[in-house]
């Protein structure tokens, strides 16, 4: 399952574990500001990331290589400890403070109770450990080659920060991984407060062998060979298929509770892109700017977009503000509707015209007759560089083609 898949954790206060800062003092960080080499210690070794803390109103960011996300709160607590909250995933890091170290635990809560993983950090930045040229590039991988095999593509590249890349599955990528190469072995990590992922391994002749680590204890071996360009994953347009014989329909409430349907004047005789998304889905955050670009280019020629949000709770009072924040973050001017919850069955039940597993995001391109012309499952985000740019061009060209067919 990739980050385009479902996350279990509710975007609720982690009262039982993190305290949600209720008894915290908003005091200055008193010399904590600066760069911290951070790690959580999973069974497979240290999973590395970077933390940057700032003075003023206490704040900070969590960085996986070149991608940084702000903590929802940074608070100095009584007893010389610091709380770094990752509110989106009901997670937090709480650590004791000494002048040159932070030592504590990362915590979040799942269905079976809290998860606690040791965390530590020291002053400074992780060094750049550039990979050899023979490691970079695109690799076709099979996870658990002698168990239930699961295909992935590994995209590895050298950057000024060391080794960066991502893991791509049929339904999208797993966000930016960062790491380096030491003594012939590589490690790269992605930690966002919910997903605790690490890839380790080494070149063995022309083959890449290693382990995919998830959470504190999960380890799945993989083998990978250099991609020949032949398809290793299903094409994004083959994962989800749609009934193309009838009009594609929707009927869901907007953020003010007014139902919006495909029969509304706004969508009549228009080329329409329906995006199935969720604010909890990082890949959907990647696709939003691309949809914004398409909307800006083509709305005057008769293109409309509607976003169908599948959120965490199903409760409009909880989900509504999250979707509104998403709209504000990306300056979205097209309607976003509360369509359901991010549960595989729910998404399928509310989209009977789609067949196959619903990926997040999924873009459905509809021509002016109301028929589905293309279903794009998943999205290649900026972490994929040229692949992302190529997909963006492809989607823009396809929207343009549909408009031209309609004489626009």
């Amino acid at each position: 399952m990739t980050r385009a898949s479902f996350r279990v954790l509710a975007t609720l206060c982690l009262g039982a574990v993190a305290g949600c800062g209720g008894d915290a003092q908003t005091t200055p960080l008193d010399g904590l500001a600066g760069s911290w080499r951070a790690q959580v210690d999973v069974a497979g070794g240290p999973l590395r990331f970077q933390v940057e803390l700032s003075e003023g109103p206490p704040s900070g960011v969590l960085c996986n290589g070149g991608t940084c996300e702000p903590f929802s709160a940074v608070q100095l607590l009584p007893g010389d400890s610091v709380l770094l909250e990752i509110g989106d995933y009901a997670a937090a890091i709480r650590a004791s403070v000494t002048p040159d170290s932070l030592v504590g635990f990362y915590r979040n809560v799942g269905n079976r109770g809290p998860r606690t993983i040791p965390f530590r950090a020291s002053r400074g930045s992780w060094p750049a450990e550039p990979p050899p040229a023979e490691l970079t590039g695109r690799w076709d991988a099979i996870l658990t080659p002698d168990g239930t095999p699961s295909p992935r593509v590994l995209e590895l590249r050298a950057t000024e920060r060391g080794l960066e890349g991502t893991i791509i599955a049929n339904s999208g990528d797993s966000g930016l991984f960062w790491g380096g190469v030491r003594d012939g072995r590589f490690d790269m990590s992605h930690f966002d407060g919910s997903f605790v992922y690490m890839l380790t391994g080494a070149l063995d002749g022309d083959t890449l062998r290693g382990t995919f680590h998830a959470g504190l204890t999960s380890q799945r071996p993989f083998v990978a060979v250099r991609s020949t360009g032949a398809p290793h994953l299903k094409a994004p347009t083959e994962i989800v298929s749609a009934d193309t014989t009838s009009t594609f329909t929707w009927d869901f409430p907007d953020l003010d509770g007014n139902f919006v349907t495909n029969e509304d004047e706004r969508f009549r005789d228009k080329v329409v892109i329906v995006e199935i998304f969720g604010t909890w889905c990082p890949t959907c955050h990647d696709s939003a700017p691309t949809l914004g670009e398409i909307y800006d280019r083509f709305r005057d020629r008769g293109l409309e977009i509607v976003g169908l949000a599948y959120e965490v709770t199903g409760d409009p009072e909880v989900d509504g503000p999250l979707v509104r924040r998403f709209a504000d973050k990306f300056g979205i001017e097209y309607p976003l509707l509360l369509a359901g919850v991010n549960d595989d069955d729910s998404a399928r039940d509310t989209q009977p015209q789609l067949q196959g597993p619903i990926a997040f995001p999924t873009m459905i391109f509809i021509d002016t007759s109301g028929r589905v012309r293309r279903v794009q499952a998943g999205f290649y985000g900026p972490a994929l560089g040229e692949v992302h740019e190529e997909l963006e061009r492809e989607l823009i060209d396809f929207a343009d083609q549909l408009l031209k067919e309609a004489g626009r």
Binding site: F6, F105, T217, D345
Partner: protein
């Protein structure tokens, strides 16, 4: 009714009692706080059962759900939904859903859906009890992979049936006994994670510890070797609340020695 677990520290003659590692200490503190305060603590559960047709909450509902806000949970044309006084709304599976100050969770199982309903806790819950930390009950052994793949439905910690694949047989020496424990890979819903888990009974089961057994997770060390920290053994949720079904002991996973480590089972009535 909330069962109380007394905080008990037992003196274990001749045992290698060590200072509890910070990680285990933090894990226990978090777990205790979650059990005591979380709205979806196992202690807060008032209903656990299959969703057949619809489940009614509020006046007219079965006794356990009668004090909940009025609502109906059912599988409709647009999926699983909850109809409340403020209208219908979809319900996610594997996720906690609020119903006023109540909570519910729908867990998909091979035969359909199971529903757990949680009411606000009105009674105080004591800390779970633990044996003193025993360094000699952290063992390292090998996990022999199975000769053929085997997947079966088993009950997890939370009493929910889940498809788990056979991970193999873990062999190690525990105190004076060479043990072989069957281990399964239990997936964590909603993630790429899975836990290589053993559910075992030992000489303390039915006395100081929960009769059907306790769960413990193997930590991989590489090269097929795993560490089993029996101090981290935990009770299934049925130990806290009889509404949860209890897993049956896994065949063969009975140790003759007394594993005086991990979570205890003591109630106020004992």
């Amino acid at each position: 009714m909330v069962r109380r677990i007394l905080f008990v520290l037992l003196a274990v003659p001749g045992a290698l009692i060590a200072q509890i590692p910070p990680g285990v200490q933090a894990e226990r503190a978090d777990y205790a706080q979650w059990l005591q305060t979380s709205p979806s603590s196992p202690y807060a559960a008032v209903f656990f059962g299959a969703l057949s047709g619809e489940l009614v909450f509020g006046p007219g509902a079965q006794a356990a759900l009668r004090r909940a806000p009025a609502a109906t949970l059912s599988q409709g044309a647009r999926g699983l939904g909850l109809v409340t006084e403020s209208g219908p709304r979809p319900v996610p599976r594997n996720r906690e859903v609020t119903l006023g100050d109540w909570r519910l969770r729908v867990s998909p199982v091979p035969s359909g859906d199971m529903v757990t309903v949680y009411a606000p806790m009105t009674e105080e819950v004591d800390h779970p009890g633990w044996f003193p930390y025993r360094a000699d009950l952290v063992v390292v052994g090998e996990l022999k992979r199975p000769s053929r793949a085997d997947e079966r439905a088993i009950l997890g910690l939370d009493g929910v049936e889940i498809r788990a694949s056979l991970a193999g047989t873990f062999t190690a020496r525990v105190l004076s006994e060479d043990v072989s424990l069957t281990a399964y890979r239990i997936p964590v819903p909603g993630s790429e994670e899975e836990e290589v888990t053993v559910f075992y009974r030992d000489g303390t089961s039915g006395a100081e510890t929960y009769p059907p057994g306790r769960f413990a997770v193997l930590l991989p060390l590489g090269g097929g070797r795993y560490r089993l920290d029996l101090n981290r053994s935990r009770n299934p949720f049925c130990a806290y609340n009889p509404r949860f079904p209890c897993p049956l002991p896994w065949p063969g996973n009975t140790l003759q020695v007394r594993v005086e480590a991990g979570e205890l089972y003591k109630t106020a009535n004992d």
